[in-house]
Amino acid sequence: MISVEEFTEQLAAEFEDVEPNTVFPDTNYRDIKNWSSMYALIIIAFIDANFDVQLNAENLKATQTVRDLYDIVCQKMNA
């Protein structure tokens, strides 16, 4: 598994018009500029495509920060 920093960088690239060095592991991903509910689907697709892990609505509800997402992906990969 990649580091949380790399994960953060890749996830940030999924967002439109995000300036460099504005998203960190402890950023609440719902606070990223221009957040909309569409990004929930984009995050699920990103994580499925890159880590072959499926996040459901409850997983997303239980997470706030990028690091929370990273942790749940690691957890599911090891399950």
Binding site: E16, N34, S36, S37, M38, A40, L41, I42, I44, A45, D48, A49, Q54, N56, A57, L60
Partner: protein, 352 residues
């Protein structure tokens, strides 16, 4: 899983129809411009066709059916069966197939009935009609598939309104002992019933005092109980979980090789879902996965025939092609098929 085959039936021709009115999602003023752009980029849906209040689902199937019969030189009296697949019928009762039997001038001994399925409906419809023709007792049949989904969406629901377009289609099938087998893998999971649902209006809840009251669900999502509700995350998870495995299992059981397939025509759910399914199936040649969603949106049951008619007409009408079809969604209901088509009649898209 239900793996089944249909023998002795060929597809003779296809036609599809959309309303003439174009809705551009860039003009969807309920959300911000950047949200519109993100929606179009993510779902692939730039434009949709929307039927006006005078146009019903059966109207969008009548015209392709009529023109297809003419082009095939079929005598109306030869048509033994017509099946109509829709979740937006003209009336609660009677069914739309019966209305079209009369309107199209078919004989009274023609079987006519409806099937209530959405996104999976074209694949299921091919199986049901194919099966009923395969014994040779009924010789010629029409599969009419369409939806006027926009009649049920709320303008103030950004999760559903910009997704759906209206369309209808007609597919002509015929008993033929030299036909290649059609292979199907069909499934259902009613535990997903709440993911796409119109809650009020049926016999469960009927029409109540609050049926038409708009309710705030979340930012940008306001609808009434009469409107179509769609849970994007649940549907996405369902599609990722079930569709690639259903298709892979079909190839395994049919003893076919996925690389021998010319085109994969998926239900046009949205581009993010469909591309995820494509990648999971390891289909790297994107030319093999045609889309009609950018121009017509998610057209529910009609999306597979509409994509075939608008994107593959030349190939289907000039050579032999092996296609994989896969429909998935409301229910949940899903299914895939491997079919061979050779020099079929494929009419240009009809607009009404």
């Amino acid at each position: 899983m239900s793996f089944v085959t249909v023998n002795n039936v060929i597809i003779k021709g296809m036609a599809a129809c959309v309303p003439v009115d174009v809705y551009d999602n860039l003009s969807y003023e309920h959300v911000t411009v950047s949200e519109r752009e993100l929606f179009i980029k993510t779902t692939g849906i730039k434009e949709r066709r929307v039927a006006n209040e005078r146009t019903s689902t059966s109207d969008m199937c009548f015209e392709p059916a009529k023109q297809l019969i003419d082009k095939l030189n079929w005598d109306k009296s030869e048509i033994d069966i017509v099946i109509f697949v829709t979740q937006s019928p003209d009336y609660f009762i009677p069914g739309s197939a019966v209305i079209l039997q009369d309107k199209l001038g078919f004989k009274k001994s023609c079987l006519a009935f409806d099937i209530n399925l959405g996104c999976s409906g074209y694949v299921y419809g091919l199986y049901v009609l194919g099966n009923l023709l395969s014994s040779g007792q009924l010789k010629k049949g029409l599969l009419l598939v369409g939806d006027k989904s926009t009649v049920s969406t709320s303008y103030t629901d950004k999760s559903a309104y910009p997704l759906f377009g209206d369309a209808g289609s007609a597919t002509a099938l015929e008993f033929n002992t030299s036909a290649e087998p059609m292979y199907f893998n069909l499934s259902s999971d009613g535990s997903g019933k709440d993911a796409i649902i119109i809650e009020h209006g049926g016999s469960r809840h009927g029409i109540q005092d609050d049926t038409f009251d708009l309710v705030d669900i979340e930012p940008g999502v306001q609808r009434a109980k009469r409107h179509l509700k769609l849970d994007g995350i649940d549907i996405f998870n369902f599609a990722l979980r079930e569709v690639p495995s259903n298709v892979n299992e079909l190839y395994h059981l049919a003893q076919k090789n996925i690389t021998d397939t010319d085109y994969f025509v998926f239900h046009q759910a949205n581009k993010l879902i469909n591309e995820s399914v494509r990648k999971k199936l390891k289909i790297t040649d994107t030319r093999k996965v045609p889309y009609s969603i950018n121009q017509y949106g998610n057209t529910s049951s009609a999306s597979i025939p509409l994509t075939m008619v608008t994107q593959l007409a030349e190939e289907l009408s000039s050579k032999k092609q092996t296609l994989c079809l896969s429909g998935f969604g409301v229910g949940y209901s899903w299914g895939s098929a491997i079919i061979d088509l050779e020099n079929i009649i494929c009419l240009p898209l009809i607009e009404i």
